[in-house]
Amino acid sequence: MAKKLSKRDVLKGAGALGLSAFAVRVSAAPVAEAVTPALIEAAKKEGKLFFYTAMDLQFAETLGKAFETKFPGIAVRVERSGAERVFQRIGQEYASNIHACDVVNTADQAHCIIWKRNGWLQPYMPEDVARHFDKRFFDPEGHSITTRILISPFGYNTDLVKKEDAPKSFKDLLDPKWKGKMVKAHPAYSGTIMNSTYQVARDLGWDYFVKLAAQNVMQVQSATDTPKRISLGERAIMVDGAGYLVIRNKEAGQPVDIVYPEEGTPIATSPSAVFKDSPNPNAARLFQNWMHGREAQQILVDYARQYSPHDQAVEHPGVRKLGDIKLMKEDPEAILTQADDVKKRYAEIFKV
């Protein structure tokens, strides 16, 4: 077995670091848990749940309502803001010994690494995750699970830009004709944009952003705001943001469409976690379990138009398959060490 092999390797002479990593892995291998009547009963006694999330508010509330319908008597309160603000909020609350968050869903994997390192997360492995999720979609010790896979493509307003004129690549965005016509979200507020900023800077160089900033780009906070700005017609082109909202809005009849840039589309896998000091521990487990089950994951695909890590989630036509999109490479470990540098350089370049 792979485990034994790794054990032997470690004993052979890996350093203390490898040893401790191994020790944790063995001790915390989580048991996959089903939704039992006892869990539902205990959750109903708690009666409520605080869900901190970076997902689009409308979707988060829809998810909450679906959960309330399935498990009446447990009220879900959604606390939505950009992932970087969610991270700041939880840090601020925990520093003051306020443990209000039950389940968190962020758009920046580095957050879960930090929370896990702080010992704040509760390992919990829902049955469906163990059975139907690829290994890369959950923490081996069960501290966090990828809930949805986000991409950050371009978007454009079809009333303002003809399909054939729409920019095809990041390079196209530097064309003077787009000057003053683009909107972009901010990595200090949004986890998706933290990922996309890092990936674009790594692949195209920071120099690219210097040139982009000279294009007089309108700056907003959240990756869920940029799609709405092109729907309003305030700007013609969305440089980055939640691609799923552009697709939803397009399907709702709004004049918007999506472009997958030639250089590659930035990607952010969005994990969820249960907090160890969760005030409603049973409701938290129930929600985490349900959210990664077939039913919620299908809502994610059908309603929110996002990509699901659940292998039984049925694709909904109208969205290009993830495998058919040229994606940039995600690197949460790099963001873990470079997030501050990304924010600082970004602020210097875009002046906000």
């Binding site: 803001s81 003051s96 705001d225 709405k228 924010k343």
Partner: protein
């Protein structure tokens, strides 16, 4: 004037042996010190330390050498100065028209000014985004469809420094208006009559009597407008980021992003504090000892100046000006509430109830935020008014030694941007002995502190116009200071007190800057909810909540003014 008291017979022995005045007053002084000095001390301490806690001046060095700090400083100064000038230019003539002329429907004008005052600046900013965003703004759309101009052409661009100055002025000018109009309301007609009788023409009288009488109020108004514009977080938070620059307040807010840099934020807030102290001193020097006690034991109705043929023109101009802070933004919010996309004009065909349904039945944070806001509004208004009355009395009558310090302390919070006060409080009340973070108490403290300066100034102005001769008479007849305060001064102050209560309540609804630092999921307020909704661009939901918020505010203001027994009080903000 000397009052001669007959030597005999000896005064009857007092019924109440102890005068509780001093202990009560000192008690308030202590509360005030804790409220203000605690967070300020932490701020000073933090501004002089590095992230590890060692003493350093590096924070200030960075503040004045890095363009990312002094650019916002310059921007803020430009915005505050321009807003103050615009506010005075608009509010002073309007205040005069309403208070001293036979302008038709002056009550309506006052009500509209009240409406613009109670409109939260961040809500106004969002509404103006819907109206005047360069491409999607409704006004620009109308402009293009009328002139047939190209899609790229726009009339207004709210995402600019001019746009921010405009929006801030829209919701700051009521401060100046109230001060000017109230001051004119209180100026007795006899003084002007005397001038006329002695041969002074209408303009001569205005120049030599009316304007000097109202000058203190106008200067105070300019100062308040400047400080409001300088420390405002709401409007810049909505508009500055898309416009591509920072003001001091948004810069300070950005310093609390992870990893938080409170020491830099504290340093960045000190120039604002010092500037404010300097301005307050300057105001004092300009006005010097020029104070006017114009309500004594006798009172003369102000005399209205006939405008003749200009009456309706003047009325029309006032209404047109008030279209900007009131009618247009409210219309934009209504449009956004029922429209599928905020900047699409609502028609019978595309109107939707989706936003209302979403806010009422889906938005899970809404009901708690509403409850918290109402609780905090009521509590803050009651406590804040009480403290402000006492301190205004102490300073107006110089009742205890050290009254100057009290007056300064009560005014000082105006110099602290709410966001910085939020941090000061956060630093003060997240550690023993007062662990208040995560409760409504910390928000209550923040809101009371923020409300205090304007409440104090309003009430102090009210006290100044009530001549101490009335209290003196009561005290000469044997009443203690507290009793004469209660039986003589309080009834005279009733209007001012009720106005102040409303003023604070409305202020709490508007408050965003401190709340954004101090809230937790359990203690969220409506302003923070709207800010979060704005971050994700949910304009429809904002419109619905905003309209609801305005309705509550109007209901409270109207209700408080109609409580039986309070008489028919005109609310003048």
């Amino acid at each position: 004037m000397t009052i001669v008291i007959p030597a005999a017979p000896a005064p009857p022995p007092r019924k109440y042996g102890i005068d509780f005045t001093k202990p009560v007053l000192y008690g308030f002084a202590v509360i005030l010190c804790v409220l203000i000095l605690l967070p300020l001390s932490w701020l000073f301490l933090y501004s002089l330390t590095d992230a590890k806690g060692a003493l350093t001046l590096a924070n200030f060095y960075r503040l004045f050498t890095e363009s990312s700090f002094y650019d916002p400083l310059v921007t803020t100064f430009i915005i505050a100065t321009s807003s103050a000038v615009i506010c005075c230019a608009v509010a002073a003539p309007m205040g005069w028209l309403v208070a001293r002329t036979d302008l038709p429907f002056s009550g309506v004008i006052r009500a509209l000014v009240t409406a613009s005052f109670v409109t939260p600046p961040f809500l106004g900013a969002i509404a103006w985004e819907v109206l005047a965003a360069p491409n999607s703004g409704l006004l620009n759309k109308i402009f293009r469809s009328v002139t047939g101009a190209d899609q790229d052409v726009h009339l207004f661009n709210i995402y600019s420094i001019e746009g921010i100055i405009f929006v801030i002025s829209c919701y700051t000018f009521p401060y100046v208006f109230v001060l000017v109009a109230n001051s004119l309301d209180r100026t007795p007609g006899e003084l002007e009559d005397a001038s006329s009788i002695l041969g002074g023409g209408r303009w001569y009288t205005a120049r030599r009597v009316t304007i000097p009488l109202v000058l203190p109020a106008l200067l105070a108004g300019a100062l308040v407008a400047f400080l409001q514009a300088m420390t405002l977080f709401g409007s810049p938070a909505i508009l500055a980021l898309p416009a591509g620059f920072h003001t001091m307040t948004t810069k300070i807010w950005s310093l609390f992003q992870y990893p938080p840099k409170p020491e830099l934020a504290a340093a960045a807030s000190l120039p604002l504090l010092i500037l404010t102290v300097f301005l307050l001193r300057a105001e004092h020097m300009i006005l010097g000892r020029r104070g006017y006690s114009v309500v004594g034991g006798k009172y003369g109705q102000p005399r209205l100046i006939p405008l003749h043929g200009m009456r309706w023109a003047a009325f029309l101009i006032c209404v047109l000006v008030l279209t900007l802070p009131v009618f247009l933004p409210y219309a934009a919010l209504l449009n956004a509430a029922f429209s599928p996309v905020a900047t699409t004009f609502v028609t019978f065909k595309n109107a939707t109830m989706h936003n209302i349904y979403f806010v009422l039945f889906e938005l899970s944070a809404a009901s708690l935020a509403l409850k918290n806001t109402v609780i905090l509004g009521t509590a803050t208004a009651t406590i804040g008014t009480t403290i402000a009355v006492v301190i205004a009395y102490v300073t107006a009558r110089q009742a205890v030694t050290g009254w100057r310090v009290l007056g300064f302390l009560a005014t000082a919070p105006i110099a602290i941007p709410g966001i910085v006060l939020g941090v000061g409080l956060f630093l003060s009340y997240t550690r023993p002995p007062f662990v208040l973070y995560g409760t409504l108490w910390i928000l209550l403290i923040a809101f009371v502190t923020i409300a205090l300066p304007s409440a104090y100034q309003q009430l102090q102005a009210a006290f100044r116009t009530i001549h101490p001769e009335l209290e003196d008479a009561s005290r000469i007849l044997g009443a203690t200071r507290l009793r004469s305060l209660w039986e003589i001064t309080a009834p005279l102050l009733r209007t001012g007190v009720i106005a102040t209560w409303c003023f604070i309540f409305v202020g709490v609804m508007r408050e965003l800057s401190a709340a954004i630092i101090l809230f937790t999921s359990e203690t969220k307020v409506i302003s923070v909810l709207i800010y979060d909704l704005n971050e994700s661009g949910d304009l429809g939901a904002i419109a619905v909540i905003g309209i609801g918020m305005l309705l509550i505010t109007f209901a409270v203001v109207t209700a408080v003014n109609r409580i039986p027994g309070f008489g028919n009080v005109r609310f003048r903000t």
